[in-house]
Amino acid sequence: MGGEKLNLTLKIWRQNSPDDKGQFEEFKVEISPDASILEMLDELNNDLEREGKRPVAFESDCREGICGTCGIVINGHPHGPLPKTATCQLHMRNFKNGDVIYLEPFRAAAFPIIRDLIVDRSGFDKIQQAGAYISFNTGGAPDANSIPIGKDVAAAALDAAECIGCGACVAACKNSSAMLFVGAKVSQYALLPQGQPERYKRVQTMVAAMDEAGFGSCTNTYACEAECPKGISIMNIARMNRDFIKAKIVEQEVDI
């Protein structure tokens, strides 16, 4: 392991509060190619604290690419330039000695910046609460496999459920649209028998919540799919569109 350390110039977005204007601050770092980008920020923050300066605020949790907490726009790419890789899984070996790296928060009106690289993604929570669940009476756990589900259907549902709700789709979209996220959440239920009773109600309430949270409208540029760390397909958006249109035309109206 190891190898030559990399000398990098970081341009990191610094912003004290949501109302602050914010600007880039430059840092020079020397880092092992085996470090992840978050470990590099940890080291930078150690140095800053030692010098009595305010550390760079960023979010992280699992650091294994499944929780959706981390999310930095790295050189213009949400989660960085590697496809299907979350920020925490991006290692410095993907950069060259002497590189200049821009680190910015996800930018969207619906994701106000709290501080530095941290944004408020509670808009996603509101969308989830509007329908990303199934309703059933509690009681004894039903037998496993009591409802047979084909392998292909299960696989498609799980592909949609792979969405970690990080918000990279919103960050990548020129319209700050959340449709890839909502499409994935709608689809994971729409594909399974357990999701059927509330299928057409769910798509209406979740789309309404998405609009109310201030996300833009999809114009089908597909930047979201290209930047998604989990490779969520835009076919989930097509499914959501299909369900929404069907719901509005022939199903019970729930959004007035």
């Binding site: 341009k11 880039f24 726009v73 050189n75 213009g76 790419h77 330039p81 821009y102 910015e104 930018r107 969207a108 009106a109 619906a110 990548a172 979209c173 020129k174 319209n175 700050s176 649209s177 449709m179 789309v207 309404a208 998405m210 609009d211 201030g214 996300f215 833009g216 409208s217 999809c218 114009t219 089908n220 540029t221 597909y222 930047a223 290209a226 930047e227 397909s233 835009i234 076919m235 958006i237 097509a238 499914r239 959501m240 569109n241 299909r242 369900d243 929404f244 249109i245 509005k248 109206e253 959004d255 007035i256």
Partner: protein, 222 residues
């Protein structure tokens, strides 16, 4: 009807309006191009075609009103989406990586659309107005072929026309596949076919329309 306005004002509703009106306009363009191609048949063929339309004038008028409504919905809704989406997106990143992952056609619909709109006004104020109301700009006659010759023999007019229909091609290249996606008529199996068909459609329409002023410029239409 509260549900209808609510539905059409939802984000997917607005997309649906764009896709539906856009699809109808794409059908109209096919018919319009087929009609225009009679210009290659010379004076008799073209005048004969326009006079056939004159016979069914009331029907044409109704279609024109419907078309105008479709255009207005498409333009109004498109500008509104652009404006709302701009408000939803506060600004650019230091490095714009969007170019690497999206197509030129998809990023520029508002620009190509706006130019097409300006062209549409010019187009209606010349060809439509003179075919229907004023006649030939110099003689006032309703010799339709001569009106076409008059305009397409002017290099500036023809070049503006050609540029506008080429930009229309980019607009259509995005719009065709986008409509399928918005209607939800899409999956991984036939998406490549939809995209290819859309690109072929866009090329045929834009080159088809562009070829006509080019032909008149080169031959004088005689």
């Amino acid at each position: 009807m509260g549900w209808l306005t609510t539905s059409l004002n939802r984000s997917i509703g607005k997309k649906f309006v764009m896709a539906l009106t856009g699809s109808l306009l794409m059908l109209f363009l096919i018919i319009h191009l087929i009609g225009n191609l009679t210009l290659y048949g010379g004076r008799e063929a073209f005048n004969g075609y326009v006079e056939t339309l004159e016979v069914v004038k009331p029907v044409v008028r109704v279609i024109e009103v419907i078309l105008a409504a479709i255009f207005i919905f498409h333009i109004f809704n498109g500008v509104r989406l652009w404006w709302e989406n701009k408000k939803a997106n506060p600004g650019k990143y230091a490095i714009n990586a969007n170019k690497e992952i999206t197509t030129f056609s998809s990023r520029t619909t508002i620009v190509t659309g706006s130019i097409i709109f300006i062209f549409l006004v010019l187009h209606l104020s010349t060809f439509w107005y003179q075919f229907n109301i004023s006649g030939h700009p110099e003689t006032g006659s309703f010799e339709f072929y001569d009106i076409v010759v008059y305009w397409f023999n002017q290099p500036v007019y023809s070049i503006v026309y050609i540029i506008a229909v080429l930009l229309l091609g980019f607009h259509l290249n995005h719009g065709f596949q986008s409509a399928f996606q918005t209607f939800g008529w899409n999956n991984k199996k036939y998406f490549p076919v939809i995209k290819l068909t859309g690109t072929i459609y866009a090329i045929v329409i834009s080159l088809g329309f562009a070829s006509i002023p080019l032909y008149f410029l080169l031959t004088g239409g005689k």
